[in-house]
C-alpha cells in the first residue's frame, strides 16, 4: 500500500530535530489526497508531554487573578476577571507595608479612592471595586482593564517617540480628560506618559490620582500649595519653589512636556540630578527640534510658557489649530508591544490558565494538590463581598511552589521518554 511507505518516512521525520521539516510530508499529501487517505503522524514527545499547570487559581472576592501587568513602588498590578460579569479587569494590589515607606503613601491612596469613586468620564480610569484585607494588610483596587501605558509603548520604539498623528490622537484625548477633571475641581498634578493608559480600542484613560488635589467647591480660583508630581514634568513655578501656584496650569505644563516627549522622544528640560533639573526648568530655556512643524511648535511654546498667566488654558488648547487639525494615520503608527515573557502580540487574557485550574484542576495528576485545597479554591464563590481571600496568598512561597512543580514536570517528562 502506498501509505505503508509513508509511515516510516513520517516517523523518521518526527525524530528530526527541526520541527519545520516535519511539515513536508503533509504538503505532499495535500497535493495528492487520493493516494494517501490516512497517515499516522507521530509528534515529538516534548510537545505532548503533560506540562504541569503552574497557574494556581486565586480569587479575591469574585475576581479571579491572572498574570502580573506591572509593578510599582506600592505593589503589583495584575490582570483579573470578574467571575460574575466575565469582564476583564485590572487589580492594583497595595501593601500597607510598602505604602508606609512612600511619603504620604497611605494618604495618597485614600485620596485616590475618594476621587476616583465619584469620577465618570471616557478619559479617566474607572475604579470599580475596593477590597480590603486587614489581616494581610493589603488593599485591592479593581479597575477597568487597560492594555498598556503610553510609556511602555514609547519604550518599545527605537526613538522613544510616536509618529505625529499618533501623538495627536492621544493628546486630543488627554485634553478632553483634563477638561473634565478640571471641571470637577481636580488638579491631577502628575500628568506624564506613564500615567496615561490605553484601552483595547485605543481610548486614552488618565490614571493615578494619587497626588491629585480636589479644590474646595467654593474656592474662587485654583490656587494650590503642594506638589508631589514627577520632577521632569514640573513647571517653573514649582521648580522655583513658589509657595502657591495656579493648579490647572500645572497640568497644562505637564501635558506640554508629555506632548514634547511623545513627538520628539526627548524632554524639554534635563539635568543630572533633581537640583540641576529644577534649575533648568526654572530658567525656562529649551529648544523645540525643527523637525516639528510650526503649528505644533507654536502649541508647545504656548503650553511651556514660564509664566503661568501666559501659558495656554485648556480651552485655548482645545481650539488650537494643531489640535483641531485632522491628521491621517501614517504607516509608522506604533502598535501595542507584545506582552509577557512569551511576547504575545495579541496581549491575550492571562486568566484563562487560571480559569482552567479553577474549573478543571484535577488532583489526580499531581500529588501536590489535595482535595481540600481544590475545595477551598472554590469557596470564594459563596464568600461575601468583604471576602477574605481563602486561598493563601503569599508571593514568596508561591514562587517556591512554582519551581518545585516545574521540577516535578521535568521528571515526569524524563520518565515518559
Amino acid at each position: 500500500m502506498a501509505d505503508g511507505d509513508m509511515v516510516p518516512q513520517a516517523m523518521t521525520l518526527v525524530e528530526d530535530e527541526y520541527p519545520h521539516v516535519r511539515m513536508d510530508p503533509f504538503i505532499s499529501i495535500m497535493e495528492d489526497p487520493d493516494e494517501v487517505p490516512f497517515i499516522i503522524h507521530r509528534v515529538d514527545s516534548n510537545e505532548i508531554v503533560y506540562q504541569p499547570r503552574r497557574r494556581k487559581a486565586k480569587l479575591i472576592g469574585k475576581y479571579l487573578m491572572g498574570d502580573m501587568l506591572g509593578e510599582g513602588s506600592y505593589g503589583k498590578v495584575k490582570e483579573c476577571i470578574d467571575t460574575e460579569s466575565l469582564c476583564r479587569r485590572a487589580v492594583k494590589i497595595l501593601k500597607r507595608r510598602k505604602l508606609r515607606k512612600i511619603p504620604n503613601g497611605e494618604q495618597n491612596v485614600q485620596r485616590e479612592i475618594q476621587l476616583l469613586k465619584r469620577l465618570q468620564h471616557r478619559h479617566v480610569i474607572r475604579l470599580l471595586d475596593v477590597h480590603v484585607n486587614d489581616e494581610k494588610q493589603k488593599m485591592y483596587l479593581i479597575m477597568e482593564y487597560c492594555v498598556c501605558e503610553l510609556q511602555e509603548m514609547l519604550e518599545s520604539t527605537k526613538d522613544k517617540k510616536f509618529p505625529i498623528c499618533q501623538s495627536h490622537n492621544y493628546f486630543g484625548q488627554l485634553v478632553e480628560g483634563l477638561e473634565y477633571l478640571h471641571g470637577q475641581g481636580i488638579v491631577h498634578k502628575d500628568i506624564k506618559p506613564s500615567n496615561l493608559l490605553l484601552t483595547t480600542d485605543e481610548t486614552l484613560r488618565i490614571t493615578d490620582l494619587g497626588v491629585a488635589e480636589k479644590l474646595d467647591m467654593f474656592a474662587e480660583d485654583d490656587t494650590c500649595r503642594t506638589s508631589q508630581g514627577s520632577p521632569a514634568f514640573q513647571p517653573p513655578e514649582i521648580a522655583n519653589g513658589l509657595e502657591t501656584f495656579v493648579g490647572f496650569k500645572v497640568d497644562v505644563w505637564a501635558s506640554g512636556v508629555t506632548l514634547y516627549n511623545m513627538t520628539t522622544g526627548l524632554y524639554p528640560f534635563e539635568g543630572d540630578n533633581i537640583y540641576r533639573l529644577f534649575v533648568n526648568i526654572g530658567k525656562g530655556e529649551y529648544t523645540i527640534p525643527d523637525t516639528l512643524d510650526s503649528l505644533l511648535s507654536n502649541l508647545l511654546t504656548g503650553m511651556l510658557q514660564t509664566e503661568p498667566e501666559k501659558r495656554l488654558g485648556i480651552q485655548q488648547i482645545k481650539r488650537h489649530d494643531w489640535v483641531i487639525k485632522k491628521l491621517s494615520r501614517t504607516p509608522d503608527y506604533v502598535p501595542f508591544p507584545p506582552s509577557g515573557e512569551e511576547g504575545d502580540v495579541y496581549r491575550s487574557m492571562s486568566v484563562v490558565q487560571y480559569l482552567e485550574d479553577l474549573h478543571s484542576g484535577s488532583p489526580s495528576d499531581d500529588e501536590e494538590y489535595d482535595d481540600s485545597q481544590i475545595f477551598s479554591d472554590n469557596i470564594p464563590y459563596s464568600a461575601n463581598n468583604n471576602a477574605q481571600p481563602v486561598v493563601k496568598e503569599n508571593t514568596i512561597p508561591e514562587h517556591k511552589h512554582k519551581k518545585k512543580r516545574a521540577k516535578s514536570g521535568l521528571l515526569a517528562s524524563c520518565k515518559q521518554s
Binding site: Q114, Q184, F218, Q315, K325
Partner: protein, 344 residues
C-alpha cells in the same frame, strides 16, 4: 473620473437628480403629497450611490476629489435642507443613508477648516429644521441623532443655544411619547454639557430665562422629567466651569425651598439627587441672609431629618461623610446676632 457601482452619474448630476426627485415628492397637490413609488425608489438608489461616494465601498476608497465636488454641489444647491424637510417622505433605507451622509459631510475637514460646519453657520435654518423634527414623531429620533451630531461642534452648539428655538426643548422633553422625550432630553443635556465654556457663558448670560423654564421641569408632573432635570441640575452646578451660575443659584431662597421639598419627595431617587444639590446650599461659606434664615428656622427639623435620611446607604462612604458634614454645618449654624459678635 472613477465611477461608483452601476451609477455613471457625476457628483453634479447625482445631486441634481436627488434634488429633482425631492421636489417631486415634496410637491403638494390638492390631494396632499404625491406618492410616486418610482421616484421614491430612484431617490433611495441615488442616496445609496451618494453614500458610497462619501464612504467608499469594499474595494474602493472614496476619492477626495469626488467628495469635494459632491459636498460643494450639496452646499450650492441647498440640498441638505430639502433632505431634512422631506425626511418623512423618504423610505426607511433612504433615511438611514441620509443619516450617514449628513454625519460624513459634517465631519469633513480640510486642514483646520470644516466646510460643512462653515456652511451650516451661514445656513442656520438647517439646524432648526432638524430641531423641528421633534414635532414629527416618525422622524424625531433620526432628527435628534443628526442634531446631536451637530452638538459635537462648538460653533453649532452656540448657534442652537442662543436661538429662540432652544426654549422649545422645554416642551420637547415633556412630550408624551417617552422615547422622543428622552431623546430630546439627551440632546438638551449635550448642548448644556459638551462645550463647557459655551454653555457656561450661555447660562450666565441667560440665567433668568433659563432657570424660569428649568423650574418647570423640576416641578413637572412627570417623574422621569423631574428626576432627569434634577440630576442634570446637580451636574451643571457642580461643574467648576459653571461657578458663577452655581453661586447665583444657591443664593436664591426659592431654589433652596424647592430642594428642601424635593428632599421629602416620595421617590428615594429624587430625594438622593436633591441631596446633592441641597448640600451645595449648606456648604456655601458665604450664605446670604435669606438662605441662612431658612436654614436657621428649620435647623432642628433638618438635623433630625438628615440623621434619618437614607441610613441604608451604609456602603457609600462619601455620602455618609457628606451627610455628617451637613449635619455638623447645620448644627453649628448661628443666627445673625451671634455672627455679629464673632465679627466684633
Amino acid at each position: 473620473m472613477p465611477f461608483f457601482g452601476s451609477s455613471k452619474k457625476s457628483p453634479q448630476e447625482l445631486v441634481k437628480a436627488i434634488k429633482d426627485q425631492l421636489q417631486v415628492l415634496g410637491t403638494k397637490s390638492a390631494k396632499g403629497y404625491q406618492t410616486d413609488k418610482k421616484v421614491s425608489e430612484d431617490l433611495t438608489k441615488n442616496l445609496q450611490v451618494m453614500k458610497t461616494m462619501l464612504y467608499g465601498s469594499a474595494d474602493s476608497e472614496p476619492s477626495t476629489e469626488v467628495v469635494a465636488q459632491l459636498a460643494q454641489e450639496v452646499y450650492n444647491t441647498g440640498t441638505l435642507i430639502l433632505l431634512i424637510k422631506h425626511l418623512i417622505r423618504i423610505d426607511f433605507e433612504g433615511r438611514k443613508d441620509i443619516d450617514r451622509i449628513f454625519a460624513n459631510l459634517l465631519r469633513r475637514q480640510i486642514g483646520t477648516r470644516m466646510p460643512t460646519v462653515e456652511y451650516l453657520c451661514t445656513k442656520q435654518e438647517v439646524l432648526f429644521e432638524l430641531l423641528n423634527k421633534y414635532e414629527e414623531p416618525e422622524t424625531a429620533l433620526l432628527g435628534g441623532r443628526m442634531l446631536r451630531e451637530c452638538c459635537r461642534i462648538e460653533s453649532l452648539t452656540k448657534i442652537l443655544l442662543y436661538h429662540e428655538a432652544f426654549y422649545k426643548f422645554f416642551d420637547y422633553v415633556e412630550l408624551s411619547t417617552f422615547d422622543i422625550a428622552s431623546d430630546a432630553f439627551s440632546t438638551f443635556k449635550e448642548l448644556l454639557t459638551r462645550h463647557k465654556m459655551v454653555s457656561a457663558e450661555f447660562l450666565e448670560a441667560n440665567y433668568d430665562r433659563f432657570f424660569v423654564n428649568y423650574q418647570k421641569l423640576l416641578s413637572s408632573e412627570n417623574y422621569v422629567t423631574r428626576r432627569q432635570a434634577l440630576k442634570l441640575l446637580g451636574e451643571l452646578l457642580l461643574d467648576r466651569h459653571n461657578f458663577t451660575t452655581m453661586t447665583r443659584y444657591i443664593s436664591s431662597p426659592d431654589n433652596l425651598k424647592l430642594m428642601m421639598n424635593m428632599l421629602r419627595e416620595k421617590s428615594r431617587n429624587i430625594q438622593f439627587e436633591a441631596f446633592h444639590v441641597f448640600k451645595v446650599f449648606v456648604a456655601n461659606p458665604n450664605k446670604p441672609k435669606p438662605i441662612l434664615d431658612i436654614l436657621l428656622r428649620n435647623k432642628d427639623r433638618l438635623v433630625e431629618f438628615l440623621t434619618k435620611f437614607h441610613t441604608e446607604r451604609s456602603e457609600d462612604e462619601q455620602f455618609i461623610d457628606e451627610k455628617t458634614y451637613l449635619i455638623k454645618q447645620i448644627t453649628e449654624l448661628s443666627g445673625p446676632k451671634d455672627q455679629m459678635e464673632v465679627l466684633k
